[in-house]
Amino acid sequence: MTSPQPKEPATGAPQQNEPRVSGESSPDGTRLLLTGLWTLERSGAMEAAAGDLERIGAKAAAHGGALLIDLAGVAGLDTAGAWLIDRARARLAQAGAVVEVRWAAERQAILLDQAHYRSFEASAPRPGSPLVNWLANIGETLVSAGRDIVAGVSFLGEIVASLLRALSHPSRLRPTSITYHVENFAFRALPIIALINFLVGCIVAQQGVFQLSRFGAAAFAVDLIGILVLRELAVLLTSIMVAGRTGSAITAELGSMKMREEIDALRVMGLDPMEVLVTPRLIALLISLPLLTFLAGLSALFGGLLVAWGYGGISPEIFLARLQNAIGLNTFLVGLIKAPFMALVIGVIACLEGFRVQGSAESLGRQVTASVVKAIFMVIVVDGMFAMFFAAIKY
């Protein structure tokens, strides 16, 4: 039979065409009769039947005499079936039996030849001792962490150098690109950032009024809102939102450009990816984050005002008057000074992680996650350092 063997759909009668093996003594040795479909349609049963074939064959070989694997009853065969039959043959032969495959149709013979058994065991590397592997893992992690730090520092140096170059040759700045990114990073982010800060302003005001009213000092909630929001909350919440929203976008964008060799394309055209891709994004972030922080502060104060009015009975006139007494220009500036540093942290981490993306989609996902997590972590660390710094200089 030379035509392709039609396979039965798996939904057909399950008992019919199951791959089976039976042994039978004959004058010239033991005949191992194979029947049914030896195809992947019957994958599980086929593997079990191949096990039977080896077991029955080994038992028969122990009694002496040759083994004949009879394929005449096989209704269908594919490479997997051929592999299993030839593997059983090879293993029996290895155990010292005389094995022969007989009555294979022409197409089955070709398949058996194609699937000729050979061991793939040697190709797998031998696992070393767990202790050595464990130590090797620790060593590798340490070395790669060290390389990370070196890479990060050299990347920061490159970015600063290209920023300075851009500032000393303003003609090489890309105003169109910067404007486009400012629109994306600041303008389009404004609604969500304003909303979040508004809500947090409301919450701080509610808690301030609620807790302080026990001491009869509900009016001081205004001082609390003003100082907390302007010094810390506005810039912190905005930075975290920007790290999640913009930092991840930058990493994904640069990472997929790296995957598609677009960054190499820029390089061979004589363009510096730092200048074309990184600098505009970084400058846009440096512009966007202070703007967003300012508006976020306003939004949070407005939220505080509404809740203080509705929940605490502090009228807007009193709120604004107390606010003017409570905060000075320095309170406002403390928040705003931090914003460009946060922008730098987020931008550097996002670009660095973007350039680290390797060829796979998995690595893109990993790098984007790393970018967001590291950026948020560093934003909080930097904010803590600023708190200590401003406390030390009593600003």
Partner: protein, 264 residues
Amino acid sequence: MSQIPPLPDEPEIAIRVRDVVVGFGQKLVLKGLDLDVRRGEVLGFVGGSGTGKSVLTRAILGLVPKRGGSIEVFGQNLDELRGAGRRSLERRWGVLFQQGALFSGLTVLQNIQLPMREHLQISQSLMNELAMLKLELVGLKRDAADKFPSELSGGMIKRAALARALSLDPEILFLDEPTSGLDPIGAAEFDQLIATLQKTLGLTVYMVTHDLDSLYSICDRIAALADGKIVATGTIEEMLASDHPWLRAYFHGQRARQLALPQA
């Protein structure tokens, strides 16, 4: 499914496409297209860029919805198949995408094993052996097994993707421009590989291609697509004799003439 082997003078049809209409928005790409792919043949599918070759392939595979007509694979209408029936049919075809579409997060070996893991009930060790077998079948070295797709050359990606397409021993193999992006030697080797596999495994091969060499060397029949319809089907000789203007331009153009000379 009949157990009777096809009669020699009446080839069994593996894929029957009738009056298929596919469009995007206002534009109709396929306008009532008919096509038969016979069991056990290598069908080359040609057509200019943007005429809808890939669209037809994707419509057969169910990746693009069609507006009208019917597609039958092994006599089963794809529109009427649901659930288990559909899945068991999908196991009987393998697809080699143009860019390989290997999963970038998995090694070559894991890529080949993925369909086995999802569809079969076999042990891990047998899965390893079968995957290595397919790997060698398509002419890859054993050390390619543990590499990731990003570490492979273009030719190796095509071979690895072919090994994945073959992992469930399909009966129909869809190839989307299998030799594009390969050097002439690599392309010729790939053609040869497909011809060998087609003979040993008894595959039906549906091949979208632009490669005139492949058309001459391994295709049993050629179908040409123009204006949303099949304008001609037949052997390469019949294509060469056709009067259709596009076919004349295609098979008698500058690049085709050099190949046609030894045939004439």
